[in-house]
């Protein structure tokens, strides 16, 4: 029996937005690929946390299908459950039917952002957060301001302005995520070209990213040093900015496409053999540029050519035979799998492999290593409660390992887990796997705990 089409919200009686329109519509074939078997359920962090079918991949697809078929509208409940999805794609790893959940989510979110009127506060918050990322300098300014803001305490004048009243809990969350704002000297950009050490194997373009180049500049320096030591000439092309990942995940495909084109162009001009990325989220998005620009006649083939060159740093390093001796790094390390490495890019062995090659480094497996830590792009700024619950779970698992270092291949997770460890007063350091390789090649920094 066909279900009556809901045209008004049951609670408010307001008319609902009609079903999806034709622009960036979730692919009906993709929706129908879901046979509702439920094997995805326990892989989903929000289902695991809530036990709710609406908070599961199968449930969200069921809701999309209802909207797609006009049985339901884009209601507040629909938006709530799609907002609550981390986009971690653990369900894609679990799915036997090959449902392209990530694409469905991206498209459904685009429909929401274009066609659903969010409450004013929510709308402004999203706009502010997303407007920061394509402009690294704005972000940097804000991050520095935030550190002062925190140090000086909240002034009454500032507090009384409407925007800050809205933003302050999130700003506090953003500020808390920062380990320590790096000095101006540390934040100076990487040199345009870092020459290869010894014979040149190839020319690698390096995505410096919008967040990590300001927040974790040491990581970028370490990445360039390690690539150079491996024999690559490292170029960080002018004109690169944000890769657009956060926009793609937040329902702003148009901005995402514009940023993708800019990124492609910057790296085309630099004439590189490979594009190296040390942030899993960015790498995953860049590997999807072909899909993103598939309907763009001018850019489709350029996007495909670009996509084929993108490598996570661990993929490059796993194949390197080191020209110099690797020195011991006597620490106990556990490895957290960033969702956009393990699930989106299906990269699981390589990061472990590069760690296992470091002498004296003891790698202990992290239980639930591929369960999301709650960072998920800007998720931890928008869905603070769920993000906090997942972070707590992650910190508990890290504690169980007894490791003194947790290696993480993504900037968002580095910040999120770093925050959790500081809050829990757990003496565990967060590093990117490439930093451990850097320690092994170039010596450990002073004052590192050894165990």
């Amino acid at each position: 029996m066909p279900t009556a089409v809901a045209t008004r919200s049951a609670e408010s009686g307001r008319p609902l937005a009609p079903a999806f329109d034709a622009v960036d519509r979730p692919d009906r074939e993709g929706i129908l690929d879901c046979v509702h078997c439920g094997l995805c359920l326990p892989s989903c962090p929000t289902y695991l946390t809530t036990g709710l079918e609406m908070a599961s991949p199968r449930g969200r697809i069921h809701l999309m299908r209802a909207v797609d078929e006009g049985q339901a509208g884009i209601s507040a409940d629909f938006v709530k459950h799609l907002d609550q999805c981390l986009g971690c794609l653990a369900c894609q790893t679990a799915c036997p039917s090959g449902v392209p959940y990530g694409y469905l989510l991206e498209a459904a979110r685009t429909q929401i952002e274009r066609r659903y009127e969010r409450p004013a506060g929510d709308r402004r918050l999203r706009r502010v957060i997303l407007s920061l990322f394509p402009h690294p300098e704005r972000l940097a300014w804000l991050l520095v301001a935030l550190s002062w803001y925190q140090r000086l305490g909240l002034s009454g004048v500032v507090r009384n302005t409407g925007l800050l009243a809205l933003l302050s809990p999130r700003l506090a969350q953003m500020e808390a995520l920062l380990p320590e704002v790096p000095s101006a000297a540390a934040r100076r950009p990487l040199p345009g070209v870092t020459p290869a050490v010894g014979q040149r194997l190839g020319r690698v373009g390096f995505l410096t990213g919008c967040v990590q180049r300001f927040v974790l500049p040491d990581l970028n320096r370490a990445t360039a040093r390690v690539l150079a030591a491996a024999g690559y000439e490292v170029v960080s092309p002018q004109g690169q900015g944000c890769c657009g990942a956060l926009h793609l995940h937040s329902g702003d495909l148009e901005t995402g496409r514009a940023l993708a084109r800019r990124t492609i162009q910057a790296f085309e001009r630099a004439q590189v053999d490979l594009v190296a990325v040390n942030a899993a989220g960015c790498g995953a998005a860049m590997k999807e540029y072909g899909h993103l620009l598939r309907d763009d006649a001018e850019w489709r083939s350029r996007a495909e050519a670009f996509r084929a060159r993108v490598r996570d740093i661990s993929q490059i390093l796993a194949g390197v035979s080191w020209r110099q001796e690797l020195k011991p790094v006597p620490v106990t390390v556990t490895y957290h799998e960033a969702c956009h490495l393990a699930h989106a890019q299906r990269i699981r062995k390589e990061p472990r492999l590069i760690l296992q090659r470091i002498p004296d480094l003891q790698l202990v497996e992290l239980p639930e290593s591929d369960l999301c830590c709650g960072s998920a792009g800007v998720y931890n700024l928008l869905q603070t409660e769920m993000a906090g619950r997942l972070l707590q779970r992650k910190i508990d698992r890290i504690r169980e390992t007894g490791a003194s270092v947790v290696a993480i291949g993504n900037v968002g997770c580095l910040l999120q887990i770093g925050l959790g460890l500081r809050q829990a007063k757990l003496p565990v350091r967060t590093v990117h796997p490439v930093e451990l390789v850097d320690w092994s090649l170039h010596g450990m920094p002073d004052g590192e705990p050894r165990a």
């Binding site: 029996m1 049951a10 094997l39 079918e53 078929e69 409940d77 039917s97």
Partner: protein, 490 residues
């Protein structure tokens, strides 16, 4: 389709009362949220939303909600992960759905006694993962074991590939805490095997949520075998493979599992997990032996000889744990992988005597040809439990009706061959009208009397198991809708 048409004031009363029992975050009542509970893994007909969903966190809360429903005269039903394939966890006509996903703790692991007690919402595979380090495992392994709950396994008396040697859920449950349909909490069975008197636990296991709601389960754990050997035998035809199955059992070998996958399934699986099943095979048999090393080596020789006798063209042995895991991944994800070759399938579950496998599979092929539908087969060949997947497309007019008619015909052939209408998926809503094919009116009346002892008001998961024309088992709920009325969702 909306709920049962509860009076608005009754619904409001139930919502408020349930919120008092489990807290407001444990009650779902918005239509756009209830929608996701309108079906379990059986999706293509009989979609009905509950009037509200309640997520308790303790046995006491379950009991309080059940008592509330009984007092209000409102039907209720339990649901675990919702991976069932017979519509057992979908309401018949609304009412209160009690979802046990938040009751997912381990209560006790008793290593010396090899027992575990878990809450009903605990996931099957988590149990084996939790006891692995003690050298133990939990034997029943339905294909959905990574997602399905132990409570749901008890309700459906779930099986799985390894049940050929180890038996199904009822052989592994020693005790259960249940909330009876009047809201009383009772302990059935306990921690010891032998109990005099009627086996009430045996009656409860497999009762599909119609005799009460199980909230805690005590199960037996088994020691991991000394050695495991997994073989893949490749055949040109499904008939040869079927004969090999009978031949192996006739030789006196009981493999822990003997699973058959036909050409269509192989195609779907290889598009997904790339388990290494040869695409040009007519069928493959996945055979697993476990036990003392010397014993399984000897059995493997016998298995190989028998397979060769019946035309096996290739026999592979998994050399590493990874190879073994990959062979099994193909099998476990087989049904889900069918999404790669069709958008909709009707997964049947029936049993025939093992010796009748070649005949029934030939008939299934003919039925598929006659209805113009692809029917893929993946099943527990060792115990004759077949799972034809009838592929169809809801967007093609008449396809669904043809699929149901083909399924019905397969079912009748299985009964004629001396088989059963269900091996392990339960009767639920889907097969209730097939039950008279197996049982006489007197048999059904006897079963309904048992049901009435537990649930005289007929409020506990009504509309399941018993045919629509036997409403005395379902209280006085309206049961007019014929079970096999296809509900197209388009």
């Amino acid at each position: 389709m909306n709920g049962s048409g509860l009076a608005p004031e009754t619904r409001t009363h139930l919502i408020r009362s349930c919120e008092r029992i489990v807290g407001p975050e444990g009650v779902i009542s918005a239509p756009d949220e209830l929608r996701v509970y309108e079906c379990d893994a059986l999706t293509f007909y009989h979609r009905v939303m509950p009037d509200l969903v309640v997520l308790p966190t303790s046995t006491q809360q379950v009991a309080d909600v059940v008592r509330l429903c009984r007092e209000a005269g409102v039907p209720f039903l339990p649901r675990g992960a919702g991976t069932g394939l017979s519509g057992g966890a979908t309401p018949d006509a609304g009412g209160v759905m009690i979802v046990l996903t938040r009751m997912n703790r381990i209560l006790d692991i008793d290593v010396p006694s090899r027992l575990a007690t878990v809450e009903a919402g605990f996931i099957n595979l988590w149990l084996t993962n939790a006891v692995k380090r003690h050298g133990l495992f939990y034997a029943p392994d339905p294909a959905s074991q990574q997602a399905c709950s132990i409570g749901g396994n008890v309700a459906e008396n779930a099986g799985g590939p390894h049940c050929l040697k180890y038996g199904v859920t009822t052989n592994h449950v020693l005790g259960a805490t249940v909330v009876l349909p009047d809201g009383e909490v009772r302990q059935l069975g306990g921690k010891i095997q032998d109990r005099p008197g009627y086996d009430l636990l045996g009656v409860f296991v497999g009762s599909e949520g119609t005799l009460g709601i199980c909230t805690e389960v005590t199960v037996r754990l088994l020691p991991q075998p000394e050695a495991v050997k997994t073989l893949l035998a490749v055949f040109r035809t499904i008939e040869e493979a079927s004969n090999a199955v009978s031949g192996i059992i006739a030789r006196g070998i009981i493999p822990v599992a003997m699973e058959m996958l036909d050409r269509e399934i192989i195609k779907a699986v290889e598009a997904n997990v790339k388990a290494g099943y040869p695409l040009d095979a007519g069928a493959v048999l996945l055979i697993e032996l476990d036990g003392p090393r010397a014993e399984i080596e000897a059995e493997a020789v016998g298995v190989e000889a028998t397979c060769r006798e019946h035309g096996c063209i290739e026999l592979r042995v998994a050399r590493t744990d990874e190879e073994r895991a990959l062979l099994w991944k193909g099998r476990k994800e087989a049904a889900g992988s069918v999404g790669r070759i069709t958008h909709h399938y009707y997964l049947q579950d029936a049993v025939v005597p093992r010796s009748k496998l070649p005949k029934i599979l030939r008939e299934i092929g003919e039925i598929g040809g006659r209805y113009g539908l692809i029917i893929a087969n993946v099943f527990h060949a060792g115990d004759g439990n077949i799972h034809p997947l009838i592929c169809f497309d809801l967007t093609t007019p008449g396809d669904l009706d043809r699929a149901i008619a083909a399924g019905s015909e397969i079912m009748k052939r299985c009964i004629e061959a001396g088989g059963s209408v269900s091996g392990e998926h339960g009767i639920g809503h889907e097969k209730r009208d097939y039950l008279p094919l197996m049982y006489s009116p007197a048999d059904l009346a006897a079963m309904l009397r048992v049901r009435a002892v537990f649930d005289p008001a007929g409020l506990c998961n009504p509309g399941k198991i018993f045919p629509a024309d036997r409403p005395e088992g379902h209280g006085d709920r309206n049961l007019q809708s014929p079970a096999m009325t296809a509900v197209s969702d388009r």
